[in-house]
Subunit: 150 residues, 2 copies
DNA sequence: ATAATTGCAAACTGTTTGCACATCC
DNA sequence: GGATGTGCAAACAGTTTGCAATTAT
């Protein structure tokens, strides 16, 4: 068993959560993917591979993992949520390509510091924050048509 | 007619959009409110005041205004969109109180500069960005219980 | 006049839930 | 054994859409 799976096992035990077959399979999928994904990505995988995990369980597991901070929910799109593994993955921000939907991560201590200071200035107690830059990634910068037709 | 309404009028004419009764009423409501609002806020107002504007028209008008950059859509929540008037309202970021849902605005040139530089460093062409700080506003810092029950 | 806009109701999408059955500790 | 977790199907919330009727220019 991989290092990360045994971490999950003890983490689950410690929190009185059962490591059921669906949960193991979902965790394995997530850790192998190591990327941003949606609930529907998981559902698709479950159906295609006849894994025998229902949509309900997928959503419930994602909530659970989010609550226990094993994954994080990200609101990149207004129509559906994205998730990503947190384990060993330090805090970072995102650039989202409007063309290919790829997501790039970055981290900048100076910006973090300035943000905290900005919150303090207004006596706002920051719990978490996020920064998103939308635009075109290097690959997509030359192959785009603007559609203002609708 | 207020300055802003005549601006809208010429803007609509210039873009071959019809300034219909529903659109006028919605624009008036938005400009008087001058705040962040949801589609449902608008629907509730329309129903309560028997304004005679359908939910469909509200959603369609919000899309239109967003497309023409008279309002901006903000993704504060994963379940529904917020909007805000753009007119005369310079670019800014948000702090969102997890307790009372109030939204505070801030602006920081230094952070903007650093963000742009960060994008350039990755040859990412930034079209727009947003920063959200979630936490407790000053008013709410002392009246909160943590609920970890579910 | 006529092209754009509206209201209605039905459809759609992502997500949540109640309940009977199954499973993990 | 008994609490916990699952699958199913139905419910839900926010939003979008087709179409016939209405309205702005």
């Amino acid at each position: 068993m991989s290092e990360i799976m045994s971490f999950f096992r003890s983490y689950f035990a410690r929190n009185n959560l059962r490591l059921t077959r669906p949960r193991v399979l979902i965790l394995e999928w997530i850790t192998q993917r190591r990327d941003h994904f949606t609930a529907e990505d998981l559902v698709r995988w479950a159906i295609l591979n006849r894994v025998g995990i229902s949509r309900a369980t997928i959503y419930r597991t994602l909530s659970l993992l989010t609550k226990y901070k094993l994954i994080a929910r990200r609101d990149f799109s207004s129509t559906h949520s994205h998730y990503e593994l947190i384990f060993n993955n330090k805090d970072h921000e995102h650039m989202i390509c409007l063309e290919c939907d790829r997501i790039y991560e970055f981290q900048n201590d100076e910006i973090e510091r300035l943000l905290l200071r900005e919150a303090q200035r207004r006596r706002f107690q920051s719990h978490f924050h996020n920064i998103k830059i939308y635009g075109l990634c290097h690959d997509c910068q030359n192959k785009r048509e603007v559609d203002f037709s609708n």
